[in-house]
Amino acid sequence: MKRLPPLLVAIVVAATRLRAIPRGFWEGEEVRFARALLTFDPFQQQPEAPGYPFVVALGKLVNAFVHDPFASLIALSVVASIAGAVLLTFAFARILDDEWCGAAGAALVYLSPAMLVFTPLPNAEAVAMALIAAALLTYARGDELLFGVCAGAAIAARPQVIVAMLALVLFARKRRAAAAFIATLVVTFEPLVEAVGVDRIGHYVRANWNVTRMPWREVAMRFIAHPWGPKLLSLPLLVVAAAGAVMLLRPGERRVFGVALFGFAHLAFCFATADRMDGVQPMLPAVVATALFAAAALRPIARCALPLALAYGAGAIVYSEPLIAQRTAGLSPPAAATAYAARMLPPGGIVVYEPSLEAFARDAAFTSAPLAALNALATRSDIPVLLLADGGTRAPNAKTFAWPDSDVYGKVTTEHYRVVSVIPLPPPARYIAGSGVFQLERTADGREWRWLAQDATITLPPLPGSIAHLELSLPENDNTLTINGRTIEVVHGKTTTIDIPVVSNAAATLTFHAARHFTPSGETRNLAVQLLSLERRQSQFPGSDPGN
């Protein structure tokens, strides 16, 4: 009978993971993990910082036999998910003294929308969660040496759990565990440190560390509630978990306090450092504490615990299905767009990519360059240019690849890669962005713009066309803009167009000055007006060309 609960959990988790195997890469980090299996080069972001050395090592080991980095990482994730669910069942059963409650806790973790979405992917999550489960099990069993090894390996699989795992190791107060923990860290991180260099480790970790700002209430919702799905699923679960915490957190319950400390430490770490734009992914390790408390609350009805958890899991599966179905049905928008760009790019052409699509572009067979190259390419009308854009577009001749929007995509994922476009940039639409011209921004529905500061300059390369056609806008509040001495009113919420005469076949500089500007909260940029598009055109009135 003792084997039945973990077996049931393993079967359910295996079924959900096999159902959710994606057709291709979806997020940039996945491409980078796959590239790391062939070339471990942290400075080229293979893999992304902070390195994940143990996942790369395991992936390489599998790939020695599978010979396909994507398939190797997927296989690793599926196996790790099943193993992790079983290990977590044992760990929770040990802590709660009940196999059915243990299985319920593990099922809650592994069937949560966050885990359903992120663990079947070619990334570090499933392996890291399995190692965390192993660390919790060995901690609960008091197996010092193995606990130290598993805790160290978990950090090597997902370095972001360092604070939580360190707290647990310190809380355990076991010398042998600490020694094994340190030894494991030394061995697993040695290749990373050797590849990066001791003196450059700090720079390497900081280079990829972005914390996009967001209101605290929204952050709390994102990190605490969203991993569990919509309100209908998360609210009851969090209430039950709170009740379980009250029941469980009593003096003398060291094992429970250890798991709670792990969860809270990781939550605090995420609040302080995690990128809000990464969705709930950074929070995954902390869900084990919530699940433990929720399972603890079910102890009085232990035999019903697993069915209740599976009922929650069924809801979570239904909730996650729109995204998982898309992922399993075909290529993701970035993968499809990259393949399309490779087919459509004329010989000698260059694909310019937006930052979030760098991994896809660099992995492709075509020549690629970052957005910063647009200025240099403005003067090279002989080079065809395609823009690989993370979002929609309304540009003519562009092709957009999109998955339908869904609640699970918005709440659980990274907010990137749902809509990706391939936009041809013909020479008349290219220009040299001077001072006061900010980077391209766009939305999924196809709005795109570059913010201009109060004073900005743009240079047009020498091409035929006696008119610079500009489209401008503002989301709120009107502004007055002067371009090369011509003044116009830019009305908010509308598109304002203006044609500025320029000399055909000669370089032209456009100088912008806005009457007003503002700085959005949490930003340092001084913004005045949105430049929607700029294109050099022929005059519609023959003879009016100042160059003729």
Binding site: L38, T39, D41, A57, L61, N63, A64, V66, H67, D68
Partner: protein, 568 residues
């Protein structure tokens, strides 16, 4: 033993390459088709027994490459078993035997090389048989030992450096009757492969000259020039440690080996003496004369002995630790195995592209590391070395030329084929052939080197260049061009701040330029007639080998780099 054997089988299947890749593999493939040692099929010093068995294998398997790979696959399995038996007999422990053999065959260097079309797997298998029979008493085993030792040398003659001292040690440890048997059987066994080799070369005198030329090459290049910029510690690291992978793997393993050596010495174990002597002699020779670039593969007998001592030095959890090391080893070489199994090697990809892209009358100009690949895969394109090919065809607009280059290029119209880099590739292989390019050489980019122009060089990911001597001359083709563009560079590594270069056309000074260290210049010089001769005179030059404190042994006199020549 069965589990370990199964692990060897599974890992070798995973390590099977899709195509040939390295220099020697192609020469062995040609040798398996037609044994012609003088034409370097196979390369010196001849490998007569290996080629004989390979030709037998070719009667069963039609493909040269598949025949050699199948042979090595079988040799690996046999080698694993006999090495385990040998180590067991030497140590008196089956656990040490299996662990030691597993360590050796699962080492990164063997995972990469044992399934390729080299002579190593078979040679090591025969060496293992010799080692095993050396540990057994009796006339029959003495004869078997001598026969296996002779076969190992005939299979891979470089193993003589380990086997001959081992033979002496075994002879000294035996009774007179066994000594006589060993000497006689070994001599007869060696004659059995030496005579066919001698006949193939063309007689005893020619065989001597053939082997002497190889020895001369060894003395000039492997023991000298190839050691440019290699410190003694780097050479030792290359031959001793790098076979074992990353430092996190090799350091604990070498520590265990040291513990094993201490334990063996303390135990005064006579059965380990032949292995220890072979190890010491081979290591000394390798450190003194072998090419460090060949490093890990050429140090296999050393690796084998280290495997034994490491297995012996492991205090506890022997199987678990060896299994852990094996997994780490697989992880380390995974990038090479994966790419090699799923894609043709870059030279093969490039050759396939060239065959499809160029007409039959095209001429392939190969860089030296790609000589065997060009000979084997591009024979229809009349392959030639670059400079003789340019001399012959620089003025033949009707003959398409292309360079088969070992490295990347930025030349227009070129195609580059590559495997992704990895630490394993950089440390376990000779670091060639990871990036290979086909560079079309249109008439306006050709010239005939007349004097003072060294061969084309390139870095795997960088551009190619030719070093010019202080005075250098080239002839342009007779094309209706009005000017020639010359790109010259002075790299950051030269011992002077700048160099003054005077460029003359047909004996008349056309332009004088100062090139600062670390920069390049493009000269555009008008031409008065087609087929002009361009002369470069540089004010400064240097010999890398004469640099103060330099470990570089390059004896050439170098002045400036010629990057590109284009007629406009």
């Amino acid at each position: 033993m069965l589990i370990a054997f199964a692990a060897i089988v599974v890992t070798r299947i995973a390590a099977l390459p899709r195509t040939a890749w390295e220099f020697d593999e192609l020469l062995f493939m040609m040798g398996a088709r037609h044994f012609d040692p003088v034409a370097h099929h196979p390369p010196p010093p001849g490998y007569p027994l290996f080629m004989f068995v390979a030709q037998l294998m070719r009667t069963v398997i039609a493909s040269d490459f598949a025949a050699l790979v199948a042979l090595n696959f079988a040799a690996t399995l046999i080698g694993f078993v006999f090495l385990a038996l040998a180590f067991r007999n030497i140590s008196g422990s089956e656990e040490i035997g299996i662990a030691g053999s597993l360590l050796f065959w699962m080492s990164p260097v063997m995972l990469v090389h044992s399934t390729a079309a080299f002579s190593d797997a078979g040679g090591i298998a025969l060496l293992s048989i010799a080692l095993w029979s050396a540990t057994r008493d009796g006339n029959r085993h003495a004869a078997f030992f001598a026969l296996a030792a002779a076969a190992a040398v005939g299979w891979r003659p470089q193993l003589a450096i380990a086997i001959v001292p081992m033979l002496f040690a075994v002879v000294l440890l035996r009774r007179w009757r066994e000594r006589a048997i060993i000497v006689i059987v070994f001599t007869l066994g060696c004659l059995a492969w030496l005579i066919p080799l001698m006949l193939a070369v063309g007689g005893a005198a020619k065989l001597l000259a053939y082997e002497a030329s190889q020895a001369g090459y060894l003395a000039t290049y492997d023991a000298d020039l190839s050691r440019s910029n290699w410190s003694a510690i780097a050479v030792a690291t290359r031959f001793i440690a790098q076979s074992w992978g990353a430092s996190v793997m090799s350091i604990p393993l070498l520590a265990a080996a040291i513990a094993g050596i201490v334990a063996t010495v303390r135990a005064r174990d006579r059965r380990a003496i032949p292995l220890a002597i072979a190890f010491c002699v081979y290591l000394s020779v390798a450190l003194r004369v072998m090419d460090p670039a060949d490093g890990t593969r050429y140090s296999l007998p050393v690796t084998l002995a280290i495997a034994f001592f490491a297995a012996r030095g492991l205090p506890a959890y022997r199987y678990a630790l060896v299994a852990l090391f094996s997994l780490a080893s697989l992880t380390f070489v995974s990038s090479i195995l994966s790419q090699r199994a799923t894609s043709a090697s870059p030279p093969v990809q490039a050759a396939e592209f060239a065959r499809a892209a160029f007409p039959a009358k095209a001429v392939a100009l190969y860089e030296l590391p790609l000589w065997p690949h060009a000979t084997y895969f591009l024979s229809a394109h009349h392959p030639m070395r670059i400079d003789p090919g340019l001399t012959a065809y620089f003025d033949r607009r009707d003959v398409p030329l292309y360079i088969f280059a070992d490295g990347a290029t930025r030349a227009p119209g070129a195609r580059t084929f590559r495997w992704q880099p990895s630490e394993a590739y950089a440390t376990l292989t000779r670091n060639h052939y990871r990036v290979v390019s086909i560079i079309p050489l249109p008439p306006e980019r050709r010239f005939k080197p007349l004097r003072g122009i060294h061969s084309l060089e390139r870095e795997p990911e960088g551009e190619g260049w030719r070093w010019l001597m202080p005075i250098a001359e080239l002839q342009l083709p007779a094309l209706p061009a009005t000017k020639v563009e010359l790109r010259l560079a002075v790299p950051p590594t030269v011992p002077f701040d700048s160099n003054d270069v005077a460029v003359s056309i047909d004996g008349r000074l056309a332009q004088r330029v100062r090139i600062s260290r670390g920069t390049s210049v493009v000269l555009s010089i008008p031409l008065a007639r087609p087929g002009a001769i361009v002369r470069f005179e540089s004010a400064r030059s240097f010999i890398p080998a004469e640099g103060r404190g330099s470990a570089n042994r390059d004896p050439r006199r170098l002045a400036v780099r010629l990057i590109d020549v284009v007629l406009r």
